[in-house]
């Protein structure tokens, strides 16, 4: 039985790590703020969900497992909200400055890193 749990843990956590990697590649490679936000939040939310899923068999007690799930839900809430806020700001800025903004955003890592900082800061 414990071997089955180990396999679940290994598969789920590895899959979670893969999604984190994919999200980070998207953050680095995608051309503008909105697509980078999309890559980061979607992939990382799924990645964290898989990591939490993989850790559940090792939680030891029901309350510890519930806490892990709560952590995931709080991160979902925070990252969804923060990505919406940043996206609204980015849309506003590109509306004000026209195409020069999106051209500049392609070279500036600012928006993405602040999304990451604000989000990991949330819960």
């Amino acid at each position: 039985m414990s071997q089955a749990f180990d396999i679940v843990t290994i598969i789920a956590v590895s899959a979670g790590a893969f999604f984190f990697l994919a999200g980070t590649v998207g953050l680095l490679r995608f051309p503008d703020t909105l697509t980078r936000l999309h890559a980061l939040t979607k992939a990382d939310n799924l990645g964290l969900g898989l990591v939490v899923l993989g850790l559940l068999p090792r939680a030891g007690s029901l309350s510890a497992g519930l806490k892990l799930v709560c952590v995931w839900l709080l991160v979902l809430l925070a990252s969804a909200t923060v990505s919406q806020l940043i996206a609204a700001l980015a849309t506003e800025a590109s509306g004000l400055r026209g195409h020069s903004m999106s051209a500049r955003a392609g070279h500036s890592p600012e928006a993405g890193s602040s999304a990451r900082a604000a989000r990991s800061n949330g819960p």
Binding site: L77, A78, T81, E110, S113, R116, A117, S120, N121
Partner: protein, 315 residues
Amino acid sequence: MTFALALHIVLAVVVLGLAVWTIVARDTFAAVVGFVVYGLFLALVWVRLGAVDVALAEAAIGGGLNGVLLLGAAARLRTTELSVAPERPSVGLRLAAAVLSVAVATALAAAILLLPDPAPTLAPAAAANAAATGLANPVTNVLMAFRAMDTMLEKVVMLLALVGIWSLAPDRLWGGRPGPRHQADPQGMLAFLARLLPPIGVVVGIYLAWTGANHPGGAFQGATILAAMWLLVMMAGLADAPPVDTRWLRLALIAGPAVFLLVGLGGLWLGAAFLAYPAAYAKALILAIEAAMVLTVAITLGLLVAGPPARSAAP
């Protein structure tokens, strides 16, 4: 090489790299973001060192509230920064700063490397006397009983910091509301988060403060989360910051140090010494002080971030 060792090496390299990057970054906003991430990684380092209480405080203060304070400062500097940026300090001044920095770093490194082995510690003494207070968390024991004086003075220092910030207010606005009036779409995402998160945050904050008696946590960490919830509600425009001369606000600000002082003087009255708790009531007294401190610290931190009075008291 074990996995733990590899993890520690990666953590140390990342923390040092972030520290250097934060210093080197020319853009204030980027430096602040670097500092926040640095705080979060430092919290991980504390977890690996087994100092979970410190990690919680570092994540809440270094990664959280300090970040908000610094982001506010960066936003305020943004308008003036463009005109200041071309001015570089002279070579002599920069050289002097470099020499001073190297000297301080060398002195710190020498102090750490020359520590006697094993390093002097009071940890066994603190652990041996843990039963005296009835609390199981050694960190809380040290903060609230063995070194209670430091903790009390720390709360007074926080009040002094707030007085310092308030004293920046122009005379005509004294007694007004701190900071700008935050406007946000009442149906927007921020207002949504500010309605959904505080109930959860308030429970977590109070739980952290309560569980600090026996497990990692404590009044300061819990109060920081409560302050963050208050700030979130204020930033979403759902509640306005109270005028700084409100009576309940002033009372809440002095509640922590006042209860601490009263209990301390009570210890003097009942015989032993200032801040000596009667053994039978030690736990109850400590919990009472912590409850008052949670209120005071939460309100103080919220007002520290909110800033000096900048508007009239009228809503």
